[in-house]
Subunit: 146 residues, 2 copies
Amino acid sequence: MAIVDEMVCFSLYSATRATTRAYAELLAPWGLTYPQYLVLVVLWSDGEQSVNELGDLLQLDSGTLSPLLRRMESKLLIERKRVHSDQRIVTIAPTPRAAELRRELGHIPSAIAHATGLPDLESARELIATLQRLTTAMGELNPKDA
Amino acid sequence: MAIVDEMVCFSLYSATRATTRAYAELLAPWGLTYPQYLVLVVLWSDGEQSVNELGDLLQLDSGTLSPLLRRMESKLLIERKRVHSDQRIVTIAPTPRAAELRRELGHIPSAIAHATGLPDLESARELIATLQRLTTAMGELNPKDA
DNA sequence: CATTGAATAATTGCACACAACTTAGTTGTG
DNA sequence: CACAACTAAGTTGTGTGCAATTATTCAATG
């Protein structure tokens, strides 16, 4: 066992990249990336919302989202709209094509759930809870929380 | 709770980015990134080795490692050497400066261990084991294992 | 010995992440 | 109203990840 395998952080880093590669494989026929898929998931669930709200949910800033959303717009998956009452805000709305993808990509959650190799829903929930606690704890070390 | 928070993959993705930001914070005084730090950890532990071996341990290909190592070389942390007996192979050796950093960065493992918020070594080991199983399972979905 | 095939790094192109900065629009205060 | 402070999104620059390709070297085979 190599030294890095003793580290929590490396196993996290490694698991995330393996997961992203698995999503890339599943999403390739639609030319989507994992972060783009996450945007669709949020839009399917919560509907139209601002770039800021999207960034809060996904923990991504405009430096990441702006070009990502531009690519999704060019694929006709989302539509950008300026809010009349506050011209600073841009809302991101799913297009009819995005609704179609909700059906076409319906197989992905179960495919990924199976690919995790986790035995049951309970262990998945446990892992999620552990990771969320870790994320919160890590955030405390970051000065940007001030 | 947002929809993405119910997903194992998102909690992984999120935890990894939180961890990388925490490392970035700690490593900033030395101008190092987390992947660069990982290379140092491997070199400190196992000493000089080829780009391939480094890539096997960190699960990174030459497309990622080549420019990363070039940056580390320009910071005088590593030295590239062609192997005489096989001119295809490039070995990466830590410089004296890298050895210095081993001492200067000695506080980081415990700082990160504390920042994870994990209560004890046993729960850390458990999480690592779970993540390694998940990484392996995810790999099976990837055709590149063939 | 010449040719072919495999191995090893490096390069190229694309898509994130994220810090730092810019631009445009809004709000609060006098 | 004037204007500073704030906010939202976009832009820029750097550093990964990773697929695909290229260049070089080595090894095996006839």
